[in-house]
Symmetry: D2
Subunit: 137 residues, 4 copies
């Protein structure tokens, strides 16, 4: 099976600059590893905050569409990110934990760690989603 | 004077996909307009949430570095975004209002509106920054 | 008609310590004024943060239940508060603006100002609610 | 030693309605247990959201002032709370984990669980603080 976390993108889509891949982290509902390359850093050389938020949004949304009790659709309604340390080395690993799986809404926590920098926590995020299960589910 | 809100980016930087420009909005401390192109939308054709967060971060950070009482440095510490409506048409206009200009911290509100869709509010964000004034300022 | 923003409380309820009343603020969907008394301050003499959050929650929730298009029920799902300045004098005025009136969810912004301290903004909050309209509405 | 987490309160302070006590939770930096009494519930019988936020603020702030590396002063600057389930039975236990112990700022996560309702997570919060260490520390 060749299921992919990324739908096809138009050429030149912002996501093309993001070098990420699915990884397995014990206890997490979903995890993505992303390289800290020159294409995603800010002028001081650290992972740009909005792109870190993009990573958090991606891993949280994917966590809701996978696993034993997946949703058919999800749309982010709220995003809160606390930036704790600059991520300069990487790769960073973003892990998602679904905190609430409701019928219409879901809440996911995402922690982002810098693997090269002693696995320190560089950011933590809480995201809320409007969700829908598949028809007949 | 050729001052630019965007530093030089490496080729292929994620920000190259963002088609934005500074605009003037009365009462706002800073404003940026961005096109909703295929390069920044998600699979349902709306401006991707993380990229909207990137836009909010950009306009808020720039607002702090400009104007009559600018900071010399700023780093985002917290970001909260409420996504109210999908932005499908655009361009969107993100306006920044600095709510607090402290010695070490600043808080900025950003509202994002879809100009083609009756100027509706598509998102509102509150961002906090660790800041530093220029030496001797 | 003697409709009241506060339901009857048991004796000794925490809300008894809150000395608030409805006020009219032009342009706002709802507004409440609250005195900064010794019963609601922290050890440094400023309005305690959690009680300010309580005030924000109250004025936002009430705004959704009133006006020309009221909901029958609402429950807070997310609350984000930025504390900008200490409120030491008061009274403070909390104004609510409904940013989104959806079928199932609503988002409200609340600004809190200290009237005695030059009307400065002491806090700003964004709250999300799960809502329900009256049957048949 | 008779150190107390609560300073003396004026008679009738809102906090008098809160029936809490320190508890020990393995792995947590601080924990408080609070009863869900009629004095802290809303009209639908669940722990009122603002008072839950008050509890989160209390346990987070106290966590920063205790332990092996305590701060001398702290003031809440940001508070984000996700309300996941209604807390109707209680007692609830709020546990604090300090995520960042910086020189000037700190970030704390607080999880609130309902002990009688299968220990379910009823809310999660992230709080930021402006902090100061003791002189000479």
């Amino acid at each position: 099976m060749t299921e992919s976390p990324r739908p096809a993108l138009v050429e030149g889509h912002a996501f093309e600059a993001l070098d990420w891949q699915e990884v397995t982290v014990e206890g997490a509902d979903w995890a993505i590893e992303m390289a800290v390359t020159p294409r995603v850093v800010n002028s001081s050389g650290a992972l740009q905050g909005g792109l870190l938020a993009t990573l958090a949004d991606m891993v949280a949304g994917t966590a809701l569409m996978r696993g034993s009790d997946p949703y058919a659709r999800s749309a982010t309604t709220e995003m809160h990110v606390s930036f704790l340390e600059a991520a300069r080395q990487g790769p960073v690993v973003a892990t998602a934990h679904v905190l609430r799986r409701g019928r219409r809404t879901a809440v996911v926590r995402v922690d982002v760690r810098d693997r090269s920098a002693g696995d320190i926590l560089v950011a933590t995020a809480t995201l809320s989603f409007a969700v829908r299960r598949a028809e007949g589910a």
